[in-house]
Subunit: 201 residues, 2 copies
C-alpha cells in the first residue's frame, strides 16, 4: 500500500524478500498481459493473479484496486531517481535518461505508450501518474536550470521542449522499433550529446 | 481502393466531392471511436458505419477490410508530403515536420500511439504501415544527407537518431499533453532550430 499512497516517492524495498518477489511477479504479470495485447480495461485482478501464480488476496493486500496496480506497473518500468553528481548538466542528464530507460522500458515500452492515454482519461489515475512522473521531470528541469545558470547551457533554452526532446526519442524508438546503430547502453550518452551539440555544422 | 494498394503514395483526391466527404466522415469515425477508448480490435465496420452515418456497403466499396481502413485512418492524420525548396536543410525539415503534424495529429495523436503497437503485431499491417511511413522518413533522410553534403549539418550526424529527435517530441507531447509555451503553428520551427543549434551555450 505504501507504494500507492506515498505519492512521488520511489518504492521502498519490502522488509521480507518473499514479498518483493511476489510484487515483482505481479507487476510483471500486468505488463506481460498488456504486452500480449490486453487493454488496460481488459486486464483484471483475476487474470493478473493467474499469470503471476498468486492468489487474488495477495494482490489486494498490496494494492487497493486495479487502477493503483496499473500505476505501479508503469512506475516499475523506471529505475530509481539516481544520486546526481551535480558537476555538469551533461553528466546529470545522462544519469536521468539512463534511469528512465530501465531494462523494463526496453521490454515493455510499447505498453506504456498504449496504457498512458487510457490512464489519462480517469482523473484519479491522471493525478496518480502525475505524482509518479512529476518528481522526475522536476529533477530534470532543475538540472537544466542549473546548467543555464552555470553557463553550460543556452540562456534562452526552452526547458519544457528540452524535456520532450529527452523523452520523445526513446518513446518513438519503442513504438517504431527504429534501429539507430547505437547500442542500448550508450543511447543516453549519444542522445544527450546530440541534444547539447546540435545538428548544425 | 487506390489508397490502400498504391503503397507509398499520397491519396488522390476522388473525382466526385461526395466521395471525398464520405471518405473523410468514415476516417473521422474510426479515429473518433478510438479516441473514445475503443481498441483497434474492438472497432468494427458496423460501428464505423453507424458513427459515420453511412452504410456498411459504402465502406466496403472503398476498403477491402478493417485493416486497410485502420491504415488509411493513420495515413489521414498526416498532411501530404510537401514540395521542398531544397535551399536549406533547415527550411526543408520545418516543412516536413509541419506536414507530419497536421491538425488531425493534434486531435488524434494519442490514438496513433495506442494504435501503432496493435497494428505492428500483424505482419501485413506492419508492411502496410511501413509503406505509408517509409517514404516520409526517406524524404527526411535525404534532406539530412544533403545538409551534411552541403556543410550545413555536422558530418558525423546520426541520421536515424535525428529522425527520432524530430518525431519523438511531438509524440511525447501528444501523450503527456505537455505545455511548452510554443504556439502549435510555431512548434516545427522551434523544434528544428533547437535541434540544429543544440542546447549547449
Amino acid at each position: 500500500m505504501t507504494s500507492t499512497t506515498t505519492t512521488g516517492q520511489e518504492r521502498k524495498a519490502p522488509g521480507r524478500p518473499r514479498n518483493a518477489q511476489a510484487d515483482e511477479a505481479i507487476l510483471d504479470a500486468v505488463l506481460t498481459l498488456m504486452a500480449e495485447g490486453q487493454s488496460a480495461a481488459a486486464v483484471s485482478i483475476e487474470s493478473v493473479a493467474a499469470k503471476a501464480g498468486v492468489g487474488k488476496a495477495t494482490i489486494y493486500r498490496r494494492w487497493p484496486n486495479k487502477e493503483a496496480l496499473l500505476i505501479d506497473a508503469v512506475r516499475s518500468m523506471k529505475g530509481p531517481i539516481p544520486e546526481l553528481a551535480g558537476v555538469s548538466a551533461r553528466a546529470d542528464l545522462i544519469a536521468m535518461v539512463t534511469a528512465n530507460r530501465s531494462s523494463r522500458v526496453q521490454e515493455f515500452g510499447k505498453v506504456t505508450a498504449c496504457l498512458l492515454p487510457e490512464l489519462m482519461k480517469d482523473e484519479q489515475l491522471r493525478q496518480m501518474h502525475h505524482a509518479v512522473m512529476e518528481p522526475r521531470r522536476e529533477v530534470m528541469r532543475e538540472i537544466l536550470r542549473r546548467g543555464i545558470a552555470s553557463g553550460e547551457l543556452r540562456a534562452d533554452l526552452n526547458i519544457e521542449l528540452t524535456l520532450l526532446m529527452l523523452s520523445g526519442p526513446s518513446m518513438a524508438q519503442g513504438l517504431f522499433g527504429t534501429e539507430t546503430g547505437v547500442p542500448l547502453e550508450e543511447f543516453p550518452v549519444v542522445l544527450v550529446d546530440a541534444l547539447l551539440r546540435g545538428a548544425a555544422a
